[in-house]
Assembly symmetry: D2
Homo-oligomer: 416 residues x 4
């Protein structure tokens, strides 16, 4: 499939974190035709200890959808059982460094726009999975990775290229689990690539600044149910605790020392209208462009959660479900990306300020700690709406630019 | 089936409001053997305009469960399409008044206790439907109704007995929809029967006082989603509005003029941890033992909901999804129930204070407005836990008492 | 002075809890002309350990006002130093029981209405102390006590009458402090009298039901101040904690077992608009018609306060500043009051439901515990507005009724 | 008096916004000995329309304190009646530009530390006015202004120097009111000077970046009082509305487009513990380093206030009580300050990032709009604690540096 067809096919079948079954099966089917060594299952990802991993019914539902939408039944069974991460090593014909390139695969729980103003809708490749959407461009990322692998299949480059097809970037859980399986062991150069991020069309940024360190949390409040009219005093109201925490978390102070963010993303509580709610579960996140401030803010979020529980006499269990660090791109690699972009005639800037988080930072940190280099490269585009919005879409013109720059980087880079 | 077997079979298959498919099919299968005229579908209930009626997938899920658990496939299809209310008229051999007896069928979204201390669990008839439970005794009510119909099948009584098997008592929506179908047209005497309600075992209360008028509401807050890090200011946070409303509703003043209750029973909001929540939906209720105070309190709840939305710049849509009135039992009918209980040797009190609501009050009100009489009779029992609690269970010894008293009332009553 | 002049003079000079200097000086000056034994200072009240006792500047301010408004300078000095309670024992000429009659003296921090529709304003005896008002009828109570003392000065009655002029009924601190000084030691019969309370004009209620047990609390949150722009993260926000507590306290559940009330009456927090507030102080109360429920509710209020502090990382100090119990009036004394009212031709009912609290209940409880009898008698009136409202006023026609009934009770009662 | 004695004398007598009576009288007494033209009263400040201007008793209290602490009685009377702003024009002997130098005079409602670790306490010049403190260095600013005026009294400089002694910088009300009196009419160069601001000791910053635009607001909630036990439902709770607003304001989103701040600085509500609070008043502020974002945030604060009032059925009146803009320092003036510092041997940087707001920005904006130049110069110091903290103190070594640099700027600057 060509680049645009690939991305549209993926766009139409958006799968949330760790449920990227059809996507991973597509990746596998494409890569099997190429000269790579494939790793899946425990060689690519450790499932033990992943917080909030999808339950059996959810995985089964997406497995059925995947098969119904053309995926190979056996692949889907295996991926559902062993995890959706795929690693592919392609060896060049000449000695050289080991590169790792990260492509994330997961979609978001956002209901895609369906009206005439939204290009995927009018062009017939809008989300076929109600309530889910590729609203962050990962459809494009996967397509770029697959097209690049095909482009480099002549193996006419120095060193080795490792393609990391990663689940669960949103929520910050996938990279950590792949690291536990040794995903970047022996890697000298790490590059993540991301489309959009408010960089103008036809522009490349060799690296980024300002990425947020983040902690994702889940809090489960457990109280006591009671008949809301006959004995309200016998209840312990988990929803009141959670609602108090929502306000408390959003009320945490801004920091003068670094940019911060807080969000309570979901809250589910209660059973019946006439029952004092005994259960409430929320997910929330802290962020800061400074890792230490993020750690401080995370502690404050937890204190708010505990105080709210204490006030209502309910229990609260707090779990860190994901997270990522900040990231400093290495100068030598920034130079190399700028050179690669230049060699193909693409306009490039050295650094672009990023407004979010990405657990690619954990891969980068691991590679840097082992003495390697890392960067996070952005390829701009004219996006019709912000990331995570029901009207977001990638700029398809950016896809070949990304493939081009990465190809040049691998083939021509002399960084060492 | 005998009385206890019936109630245990129903207990094991708890179905929530308007999903009482297996229960209604069981009612139909039992009543078809008796000399009654059966009404279902539009003759028994008007589905148009019922707020928060279950959606197709939910009905389909309970339909599949019902068939898998022994119900007749054709009956289930019909009931799922036309509603679960069943009305049966049994004519006596002598002239006399038209009685209507109400038996409610729905279960609650409560996860039943499964440990050794809970009788249904240890006796093998605990809920087979995870997350749902007969925690208010309606399993017993249906069994009483069916046993009574069998007992009266000799038709040796004056007048006519109309059995009303009602869906959706919890949440206060079923009676209103059956009234719209003329369920109590032409009725002279209305009796609802309820087990438990903190009345001691082996006691009968001819009527009740203190029943709460209530209004059930659903509020849907609609804001704007945004990336929680990249552009939080572009979001309009529906969850913040809902959390503010939760606290505001519970903070409404107590009234010195009448007992009141408020509860926010459920809240569901948001999509992903890193997205400003654009949607939040809650269900809540107001109650008072005085109807005018309930109306006042309902308006205050709505004002809190609107103010919370205004503060966050989000929209809120408020719907009254159910409700019921207070109820004054008629003296003549109280006398008749006392006499009936006495004639069978059961200890009886005239009035018992009730701590909840029941939309049987709407049937009662309609009958009284048309010149008839109404009461709400309670049969006590030793319940191991409060109503709506995961450890609630009916006292099976109360079941024959209830059948007995109602039989005596129908056969022997001289009230006119 | 006559009864009406007395009450108007007192009405015009309303003094809050423990600052009743001019009022107590007036009481002293009137009683000194009568055959009584007077007790003040440590013989009438123990000041040690009274929570939230007025500070020096406040006492000095009201002392200056008292002198400026005609009070004796020496009396005021003494009362300001030793407390405002006054006890007067008047011995009858015949043997008989020891009666104690309670008259409370304090006013409220309510700004009195000043327009044409308010009788005290148009008649020239509105509050001369801005921000304070006799909005609960204690002006009338003191006048009744003084008039009764004058009426009984012939000593033509059996036994002894002890007049208790009590400070600080509002907030529930005065009775406790007088009890500590032995105010009702040796008392056989205790009667408190209160005007109004929604009893119709020209009616007397021999006793009351439904009085609320109550606990008054003060919570002081201590955080850390910081520049709100330069370093908000260095602050610990006491106001956020207090605001969270306000919502949490009002959100506490209604009880099905007994009527309850909660209120946060005052909140004062912060210093400057651009400083993170380091201090916040609130006063609040719990109430219930059942003493055990009040104790439970009080614990819940404290838990909310502590949880709110924990959530914000601030300290909270909670003090019980006052309180009172519920009260059961004794049948024999109810009979006696009914007889007394009847003997003077006043219409009387046995019991009246009361909607508030009064620490006279502590005197009553002490007398009852020692084997005596107690009641709380109400004299109705046509009040233009509810108690504690800026437009409240006592019905002056009720004053002589109260004196009359109490006189008859003392002179004629045969209860023993 | 020498520089240090002046600042200590002022430090010991801290006066809040618009109450700087003793300070202004001291300024007047010093300047009267110098060759200046003095302007006070309506020539220096317009009192009409100043929001939240101190009331009569407050002004009288500080007037009495001023006289008791050595100020001239007549001056104090005049300043209390006409405002505390003082403008002094000193003409140089040569033609040249008109300079305006701003020195702010007000203290903060912060209780100063009194223990051994706090230099003003141990050196005997701690605050003599309990609850108030020079915690932002304005004591030093006034001293610098007076010392500079004395230094320049030889008039050996080109142009004219206008000294602006400004009240009420904190809260952002003084500059606006002086502008209304024409304080910077005809000015060519405007310089504000501030000590500290986290700039290291012995350093000068010619200008600043990052100053916050800000809006100060006061919200007054008016509900209905009621007896908290007898008729809580008749109340409309102003404190509940205010507490909801406190949480709502602090919960407003962070902006990705510019740094923001929010603060609710004070809240005062209620009358008595047993009365539903009918009044609640809070002060709050919005800030952003971007003026348009500050305007957006201000509107959101108001929406939260209105929504909270709506929810409780109370009225809210919102007043903007102060504010200031952001500020861009002019390059030519930055050059001149750098040159002046260099000529006296002081280390200087061009720009320093500021973490707060200052309504000197309004003077600067007015001068720039009229074609002049402006800057905001900082003189660093080793401050023992942050600004607005009870342990803050200025570095006295910074005082002569400030005088020195300003003197050089006036005498030697060639900017035009």
């Amino acid at each position: 499939m060509d680049l645009v067809s690939l991305r549209r096919d993926i766009h139409a079948h958006p799968e949330p974190a760790f449920c990227e079954l059809r996507t991973a099966a597509l990746v596998l089917s494409q890569l099997r035709m190429l000269p790579v060594r494939l790793r899946t299952g425990a060689e690519a990802i450790r499932l033990e200890g992943i917080p909030a991993y999808p339950d059996e019914p959810t995985l089964r539902e997406f497995a059925e959808l995947a098969v119904a939408n053309g995926a190979d039944h056996t692949d889907i069974q295996t991926l559902a059982a062993q995890g959706t991460a795929v690693i592919a090593d392609m060896e060049g014909t000449r000695p050289g460094p080991v590169w790792a390139l990260r492509f994330d695969m997961d979609a978001l729980p956002v209901a895609e726009a369906e009206d005439g103003g939204h290009f995927p809708a009018t062009s017939g490749f809008g989300s076929a999975y109600p309530g889910f959407m590729h609203a962050c461009g990962h459809d494009g990322h996967v397509a770029i990775g697959l097209a690049l692998a095909e482009r480099l299949a002549d193996r006419d480059f120095p060193g080795t290229v490792r393609f990391l097809f990663q689940p669960a970037e949103e929520g910050g859980r996938g990279a950590r689990a792949m690291l536990a399986a040794g995903a970047v062991d022996g890697v000298d150069r790490f590059v993540a690539v991301h489309l959009g991020l408010d960089l103008p069309a036809a522009k490349v940024a060799a690296g980024i600044t300002g990425i947020f360190a983040t902690t994702k949390m889940r809090a489960r409040f457990t109280g006591v149910a009671a008949h809301a009219a006959a004995a309200p005093q016998d209840g312990r109201n988990a929803l009141l605790a959670a609602a108090t925490a929502v306000l408390g978390i959003h009320s945490l102070p801004r920091f003068s020392t670094a940019d911060t963010r807080v969000n309570v993303g979901t809250l589910h509580a209660g059973g019946g209208v006439n029952i004092v709610p005994a259960l409430a579960e929320l997910t929330c996140e802290a962020r800061s462009r400074d890792g230490a401030v993020n750690a401080d803010l995370t502690e404050r979020v937890k204190r708010v959660l505990r105080g709210a529980a204490e006030a209502q006499g309910v229990e609260v269990e707090i779990e860190e479900t994901g997270g990522s660090t900040s990231l400093n791109c290495d100068d030598a690699l920034l130079d190399a990306v700028l050179a690669a972009a230049g060699s193909r005639g693409h306009e490039a800037v050295r650094l672009h300020e990023m407004g979010g988080s990405d657990d690619a930072s954990l891969f980068a940190e691991a590679v840097q700690r082992a003495g390697g280099l890392a960067t996070y490269t952005v390829v701009g585009g004219s996006n019709p709406a912000p990331h995570h919005n029901p009207r977001f879409d990638v700029d398809e013109a950016a896809l070949p630019v990304a493939v081009d720059v990465l190809e040049a980087l691998i083939r021509e880079s002399t960084v060492d």
